[in-house]
Amino acid sequence: MGLMDLFKKKSSGDVAKDRLKLLLVSDRANCSPEVMEMIKNDIIAVISKYMDIDTEALNIQITQTESESNNGTVPALYANIPIKDMKHKPN
């Protein structure tokens, strides 16, 4: 990384564009933050049965992904779930 990059801040126009892109995907999918939170909690509940996961670092969001069948993009649920321990927990 060059020295100049340290001083280069992302322009506010680009920030606006990035924020909108994310926001509109969830707007269009008609998915409220409350619903996202419920999905997140359910995912945690299911995966926790089988492994120890880092619930703090867990991140889920709706993004756009290339579609194979139709010539555009479709919304996709993206989840990043860091695993702390693979071992089965005793029930």
Partner: protein, 263 residues
């Protein structure tokens, strides 16, 4: 064949009424017969922007309630006799009219005019539903701000759900100085995000305020925004018009002409 166009945005204050006034006048300058309907019941504005506020006798609600004939409520423009305004009612509220009544009214106007422009109120409630009920196509107005673009996206979704045949985008109030330094989204950014056809980009122009003060639409003047609206009008009737270079500095001469208003 007449075409019914709704001008809408979702968010308030992005320039729907100014766009309606300028596109309506622009189409009249192209020798089209045009009627503009102010569908914002309770908050009428198109009449003042057009400078016709002193000529109102009857309004949209009077026509719908049968208190007058349609012809009696239509106000002829000061400059263009082929341009008419059907003003909104100031003292009533949105549910004085239903979508079915709007459709009937529009059918009655179709025979008489080439273009029927509907100035839509802000929001997505009853007034919006009334305004889009009889529309063939839509002009969605937005500014390059997150709130306006988000609302425009919602509106586009609703227009598509209501099977509006054609949706075109107008990006209004562009400040090229801010775009240049990266502090405002540019036209391509907004068009890419909303994924609809761009029909015009209008720069933020002081002359718009001046023309609204005077009650005379700016379209057709040498001011950059006036040129932009003239181009939009030509694209609406199907002409291919290249987009203006909004970054080009205006010459001293056209600035002077702008100062004196007329040209």
């Amino acid at each position: 064949m007449s075409e019914v166009i709704v001008i809408t945005s979702g968010k308030g204050g992005v320039g729907k009424t100014t766009t309606t006034a300028n596109v309506g006048t622009g189409l009249a300058q192209l020798n089209k017969k045009v009627v503009m309907i102010d569908t914002d019941i309770g908050l009428r504005n198109l009449d003042v922007v057009m400078g016709l506020e002193n000529r109102i006798v009857y309004n949209l609600v009077d026509v719908i309630e049968g208190k007058c004939r349609l012809k009696q409520a239509l106000i002829k423009d000061k400059k263009y006799p082929e341009l008419c305004l059907l003003p909104s009612a100031q003292t009533r509220d949105k549910d004085a009219v239903t979508p079915e009544q709007m459709k009937e009214l529009i059918e009655e106007l179709r025979g008489e005019f080439d273009y029927i422009l509907l100035d839509c109120p802000a929001g997505i409630e009853q007034g919006f539903k009334n305004a889009i009920a009889g529309a063939d196509r839509a002009l969605v107005v937005t500014t390059p701000e997150v709130s306006a673009v988000r609302d425009a996206d919602r509106i586009i979704g609703l227009l598509e759900a209501n099977e509006i045949g054609r949706i075109d985008l107008i990006v209004n109030r562009l400040r090229m100085d801010m775009v240049k330094r990266g502090d405002m989204m540019n036209v391509d950014d907004v068009t890419e995000i909303l994924a609809v056809n761009l029909i015009g980009a209008v720069p933020d122009d002081e002359q718009i305020v001046v023309s609204t003060n005077q009650g005379e639409p700016l379209v057709g003047s040498s001011a950059l925004a006036g040129q932009a609206y003239a181009n939009i009008s030509r694209r609406i009737i199907g002409e291919e018009v290249p987009f203006l270079d909004l970054e080009a500095k205006q010459g001293v001469f056209s600035k002077l002409k702008g100062l004196f208003g007329k040209n």
